[in-house]
Amino acid sequence: MHRLVWFAAQAARSIGASPVVQVVAVSTIAVALMVLGAVGVGLVNLDGLIDRWRADADLVVFLRPNTPDSELPTLAARIEALDGVAATRALDRDAALADLRAAFPDDAPLLDGLDRTLLPAVIEVRLAERDRETRDAARQRVAEALRAMAAFSAVDAVDDGEDLIARLQDLRTGARAGGAVLAALAVLAVIFIISNTIRLTLYARRDELEIMQLVGASDFFVRAPCYIEGAFQGAAGALLATGGLWLMIRALPQEGLLPVPLGAEAGLRFLPVEAVVLGTLGAALVGVLASHLATGRFIRRDDER
């Protein structure tokens, strides 16, 4: 225990002896980690988006172009009778066009001159299952039942949202790969910064290290304070990055950030607490590793063996 106290005191001494170097190192680390954190926030929100979309998506049934409007109520009733369907809303071609116009009120000129033959009649299907966990399966079951109806009814096609989900998932896969590359780069950057800072502080303490080696201190006694210093820099950088990122995200406008039809519920989500804790511990660990590399070189050079 007294050793740990001594190591910590040495580390504090070393940190206190070069405040400018420490501030520069910690803020540079923070910048590198903030970039990584921003990608993390993006991923978290993309995940959230996919989950929400999955949970909220209902089904849309497109009818064959030649379907008379009079058939709609019967078909809607039949669909409503399917297991797992809560309600339906039938839109004939006029209503479908009106719906489109209502969705894009600002683009009225663009929609001018469209007639009722442009859009097929649709029946929107609302699922009975509201539970997020089980809705996905329920939606697929109902979609299958609807597709089966295509053989003997006016049902033409069924949009179960899987296309969009698949596209979002592709986006997520890409973002994750990019994030992994960025994480590797960030780790390298942090190692680079910390090992160079440690080498600077070791250089500043070289008289002390010479005496330590002269009186027979083990390498571990030379290194341990550096490990603490490196861990401190990593962790401080991570916490600073977290704080900075949080402030930046709060400063962003929370409305209209996400594509409207995907329905952002409550603005951007921040990184989960576990990610912040793990990230900070990870950065501290990387700091220890960087110190080990820096002191290894120093000790070997100093002892010339």
């Binding site: 002390e208 005496i211 009186v215 027979g216």
Partner: protein
């Protein structure tokens, strides 16, 4: 305690700094190494605390075979060998007490054991009243006393001193030498490199004379 068998030390391609040196210092012995500048005195001491490796030959110090000592075992040897230099090598920002205590702290000793031992050794070298002073506020003789206290605080079996009085006048040199003879009386093996003939005469111990890396005289 110290044995050299046909030791040669060569730096690069030059003439060897030491050639075919064989020596024996028994436990508790006191000896001087002397000789002109460049004779190899410092090299001899550096070999003894493993700051340099012999090019040839075998060296035994306090039970360690230095020719076979692994780098990771060097600290263990050094805990048994106190070293004093001409230029003191004190840490300027630490007090006298802290300079001496540092040598025990870095070995992982607890504060409770360090304090009484450091106070004891500082009183022993006559600095009991200046424990809180910073080294640069002390005279050269006092600074060297601090360095000697640091070398002695771990109770090493061997003490090596390389021109410890090189920066001091004659009277101070005698006082410093008394500290080494005190340590010697308490059973420490002491080897002091110096070219101060007066001092060696006054102390009256064994004198090993080196010239161009060879032992040319050994008596006392």
């Amino acid at each position: 305690m110290i044995r050299l068998f046909h030791v040669t030390k060569r730096y690069g391609r030059d003439e060897p700094a030491l050639s075919d040196v064989s020596l024996r210092l028994d436990k508790g012995e006191f000896a001087f190494v002397t000789g002109p500048s460049g004779a190899g005195k410092s090299t001899l001491l550096k070999l003894l605390f493993a700051a340099e490796r012999p090019t040839d030959g075998r060296i035994l110090v306090a039970g360690h075979d230095l020719s076979r000592l692994r780098a990771s075992s060097v600290p263990i040897l050094r805990r048994n060998v106190g070293v004093v230099f001409q230029d003191f090598r004190l840490l300027p920002r630490r007090s006298v007490f802290d300079n001496v205590a540092f040598a025990l702290e870095v070995l992982g000793q607890p504060r409770s054991r360090i304090r009484p031992r450091v106070e004891q050794v500082l009183r022993q070298v006559g600095l009991g009243h200046k424990m809180d002073a910073l080294p640069l506020r002390l005279s050269g003789g006092e600074q060297q006393r601090v360095a000697i206290a640091r070398a002695l605080v771990g109770e090493p079996a061997v003490v090596l001193a390389d021109e410890p009085t090189g920066n001091l006048d004659a009277a101070l040199s005698r006082d410093i030498m008394d500290l080494f003879t005190d340590a010697h009386i308490r059973g420490t093996t002491v080897l002091v490199a110096t070219h101060d003939v007066q001092l060696m005469r006054a102390v009256g111990k064994r004198i090993i004379r080196l010239e161009r890396g060879r032992v040319v005289e050994d008596h006392g």
